[in-house]
Amino acid sequence: MNFICTRKKLQEAVNSVSKAISNNPIMPVLGNIYIKVKDSQIIFRGYDLEIGIEHVEDAEVKEEGEVLVNSRLFSDIVRSLGEEEVEIFTEENKLVIISGNAIFNIRWLDTAAFPKLPDVEKDNKVTIKTEYLKNMIRNTIFSVSTNEQRLILTGALFESEENCFKMITLDSFRMSIRKEYILGNEELFKFVIPGKTLNELLKLITNDDEEIRIYYESTQVMFEFGNCKFISKLLQGDYFNYKAIIPKEFITKIEVNVNEFREIIERNMLVSDDGRKAPLILEINENILTANTQGEAGNVTETLYIKKEGKDMRIGFNAKYLLDAIKSINEEKVRISFMGETNACILTPQNSDEFLYLILPVRIAS
């Protein structure tokens, strides 16, 4: 094996594939990067049995071949190099890396022991702009459950609905739904992607302005974009019947300015011990919303002018849950609809159904 490549390309490739390489791999062989040189391309792979990433770069190829190299060492070396071109070749049992005046000799391993990345058939495909997908993930990922006892909820549901691409996440206390209208996708699909996969995917997508192709099978999914193929297992099982918990009738609806409300929540969280201990209590009287937190260290009260329909009411929340939702709303105003002080409330846009955040309140001790 022998090729010449820019440091920048090497760096990009290593950054990509190392997202699928654990520092503490289950099998030692999975701590390596797989490098294969063929035609005029170098193919890099990382795989932790859950997520597999393949990254392809052009290079000046002198001799084809394939090796495994220790991921951490190779990444450190690539990062340390200057901007010169890098020549990499095998010499008996050494991999030689030459850049400027630096010459590294490191050990390489035979590729036979490296597990093959799963093949994903390209029969079923959804296409979406990277920017949209990124926003959908960012605006829902926080409510993925962390409770391993209900594994299916540790993933996000991807679901099609009349030219829409929907993403749903929920833990026991809240739910996030995001919708993107995408024309030309007639396929019906429904699958659950592990939250961890989405977090890594988010870091990998650097170009907002390209198409990402999503190929799915019953047990795995592949995202194809730029130079990358990103393969992940899907979570198996029936997802929570999330539609059943969306309330339809409300006793109170208010409309608030998103930025103002966000600032109020943030100020309230200053005394609530990270929103975990003292609940944020919202009191709605006529057209005034009063937000109040009685923390151990102190308390804060603030009022906000709102539009209101329905009854006056008083309800408590974990401020963190409200903040996560409100931060994900990229509109001037949001509608909040309440069903009662011990029932879920929902946050929706004024005039569309692009998002829905459902949050369960905290029952205030009498």
């Binding site: 026991s172 206390f173 739910m175 918990i245 369960l360 905290v362 029952r363």
Partner: protein, 383 residues
């Protein structure tokens, strides 16, 4: 200076029994676990029985050998709790600052009660007489300036003692005692201290602070100050967040089958869940205790969503059992505890609807059991 009393009920369980059966007063009698099994140990012995050498934690067999006419009474914890409540209600008449230390023991801060009820000694005499006359229960009272000395004082004369112990008296009264007698020192610590040549509380008081902290860490601080009679701890109702509720059971025979252990857990979790439901508390840390027939004991815990449902606590206890069960180690005692109790605001969850139903069901079961007697309704898993 503060005025602190410690009221310690004498032979509490058996004295409670004597309230229901006056004849027990004249005979040697003891409350004990089921005498048929070896798990039967003496839980409380009256003073007639103590004359024969019968002691708490002795097995029933040993006790009967010493005192063949010993009357054995089966324990009735519900009744003792009821009596205990009545005792504390009487104590509350003298001060609102009361700290319940156990079912039969409480500290009182009477610093501000003197104008109404007289000197601390007068208050102690008054309390002791009223408990005896009105309720037929005996107590020993320690009178001092802090909780620690009050506790030590109460131990000096039993039964029906009233003992004062102030810092100025400790050289004479406290220091000659063996370290084992110091409140807060167990068997292991006293053995360790003895091995360093520290035999009496006086020896301990003579130690450098640095030395004790080096040997015992933070606990060294406790030893240093207590041996000098210093204790600034206020008498206070304990913060409910730090409270816990637990139960342990010594088994009738050693078990190795986890299915048996789960049955025991079902009974224990039902009991503690019921207790915290009655107090309208919920807890979020479940721990289990396993004592092997080698007397080695382990304690394992896990965090769960705040709950007071038997099912949730039982499931957590089973997870802990499964993770720690070793079929090669016979088990003689099992326990379960729920802690981080509080009655604060409760985050509702998507499972709340199911939970609400379960909550109602369990409350109903509790009510029926309260009305018609313990365990009229039992869970399938303990049959």
């Amino acid at each position: 200076m503060r005025d602190i009393l410690l009221v310690d009920m004498n032979a509490f369980f058996i004295m409670c029994e004597s309230r229901r059966d006056r004849t027990l007063l004249e005979k040697p009698a003891a409350v004990a676990g089921d005498p048929k099994y070896r798990s039967g140990i003496i839980l409380a012995a009256n003073y007639e029985a103590r004359k024969f050498g019968v002691k708490v934690t002795m097995t029933v067999n040993e006790a009967v050998k010493l005192c063949p006419n010993l009357v054995l009474v089966k324990p009735d914890h519900n009744y003792y709790e009821k009596c205990s409540k009545q005792v504390f209600e009487l104590l509350y008449e003298y001060t609102p600052i009361l700290e319940i230390n156990s079912i039969d023991e409480a500290w009182m801060d009477v610093t501000n009660s003197k104008k109404l009820f007289g000197s601390p000694i007068d208050i102690a005499i008054n309390i002791q007489n009223r408990l005896k006359d009105e309720m037929g229960l005996w107590c020993s009272i320690g009178v001092s300036e802090n909780k620690f000395l009050a506790k030590m004082a109460s131990e000096i004369k039993k039964p029906l003692g009233i003992t004062q112990l102030y810092k100025s008296d400790i050289e004479e009264n406290l220091w000659p005692m063996p370290v084992r007698n110091l409140y807060g020192i167990g068997k292991a610590t006293s053995e360790k201290l003895n091995s360093y040549g520290i035999k009496t509380i006086g020896d301990l008081a003579g130690c450098e602070l640095n030395y004790l902290v080096k040997k015992f860490g933070k606990y060294g601080l406790y030893l240093y100050y207590r041996s000098k009679g210093v204790d600034d701890d206020p008498v206070a109702a304990v913060d409910s967040k730090n409270l816990s509720c637990g139960r342990m059971e010594t088994l009738a025979h050693d078990i190795t089958d986890i299915r048996d252990a789960k049955k025991v857990m079902a009974i224990l979790t039902e009991s503690i869940a019921r207790t915290i439901r009655a107090k309208q508390l919920g807890g979020s840390v479940v721990s289990i205790q396993i004592k092997y027939n080698t007397f080695k004991m382990i304690n394992r815990q896990m965090r769960i969503e705040q709950t007071n449902l038997t099912k949730d606590i039982y499931n957590a206890a089973c997870v802990l059992l499964e993770n720690n069960w070793d079929e090669d180690k016979p088990v003689r005692l099992l326990g379960v505890t729920i802690s981080s109790l509080n009655n604060n605001d409760m985050q509702l969850s998507l499972d709340s609807e199911v939970k609400d139903k379960e909550q109602k069901l369990e409350n109903t079961i509790d009510k029926i059991n309260d009305k018609y007697g313990q365990d009229i309704i039992k869970r399938g898993n303990i049959l």
